[in-house]
């Protein structure tokens, strides 16, 4: 290598520290994650430029790494939610989600995504059965698969899988326990206390 080539190789420069983070977040390849208070206690919430990617009560995931590992997403810690998204989440937790509530279901299998989208149409204060969702998907034999799909709902509370109960009216399973599911339905006026 000649002197001039050596001098040119010394022109190598380090990028700004936040360039990698900004690129991954802007592309949507990595989420941002933070904690936020809610009527149901503190929550982990992660989001992409498209919308919310995952939610979990803090009691169910002790650390951010555990939370994100559960959802197989990489993420960067953020100080707080963006203001617009925080408002939308607050309203959704209080009044139920609306069709334009931003969620990011990329990477989720087509059937589960369809189950979650159908579930998100169940209005606050009402319950539906697993069979109702299967019927909505024109797949009445898929009741058990609907249960499995809801059991892996990455955005509980906001996609209200707690509003899906057994056809006999019993409360059924819930990722955070049947007591929480019961309390949620009572708080929404779908069940008597």
């Amino acid at each position: 290598m000649t002197d001039i080539e050596q001098l040119l190789s010394n022109l190598d420069a380090r990028p700004p520290q936040d360039l990698e983070r900004t690129t991954l977040i802007t592309a949507g390849a990595a989420d941002q994650v933070t904690t936020a208070d809610s009527p149901f206690g503190p929550l982990w919430i992660s989001w992409s430029p498209i919308g919310v990617t995952a939610v979990s009560p803090l009691f169910a995931c002790s650390s951010m790494d555990e939370f994100m590992a559960t959802h197989r997403r990489s993420a960067y810690r953020a100080e707080r939610l963006p203001t617009d998204l925080a408002t939308q989440i607050e309203e959704a937790l209080e009044h139920g989600t609306t069709p334009d509530f931003p969620v990011d279901l990329r990477g989720i299998a087509e059937f589960q995504s369809a189950v979650l989208e159908t579930c998100s149409r169940i209005e606050i204060g009402t319950v539906r059965s697993y069979g109702w969702i299967a019927d909505q998907l024109a797949n009445p034999g898929a009741v058990r698969a609907v249960g499995t799909a809801l059991g892996h709902n990455p955005i509980p509370l906001l996609i209200p899988c707690h509003r899906v109960v057994r056809s006999d009216g019993s409360i059924g399973n819930y990722a955070f326990g049947p007591d929480m599911k019961h309390d949620l339905l009572v708080s929404e006026g779908a069940l008597l206390a």
Binding site: A13, R14, L24, A29, G107
Partner: protein, 181 residues
Amino acid sequence: MDTMTIPRKTDVRDTLVSDLDDGFTVLVRTYQPGIYSGALRLTRSREDAQEVAQDTFLRAYTALGKYDDERIRNLQIRPWLWTIAVNLCRTRAKRARPTRPLPPDEILGGEPDEHFDDSAWSRRLGALSNPQRTAVILRHVADLPVNEIAEITGRPVGTTKTDISRGLAQLRTIVHEEETT
């Protein structure tokens, strides 16, 4: 670092096929520093270099999301990314924004060197023709092989070698004249 550990695989293309986001993260960590470094010399602006280094990967991510597995497996990743980057640098050059020498605080990549005068390098590289400057920077700053540079710039390998050797010769002359005046 707040990110999860990304599993290491032998070929980033395998990772891209199995999980686009994991593969893309590897791609950014592997190639973005070099592309920033080269773009900084090609654009002579830190702001432009940051934009180029980010936009290159945003465009790559969008494209990869549309490619099927076979196309991803056949991708020559580094020249593909650099082709996007060089085109973005060219686009910025056409905006006729006056370039400015990089100030000393933008001299990065190790301890300050008494032989390292950044504004001087902006001027020296600016004296080369566009093909020579691009070829020299890709070869000796970004450390790319000649055949990849030819692919990126769309010029024959022989012409690329000539661009590099003539560019280096001109730089030697410029440096020599600086030392003797």
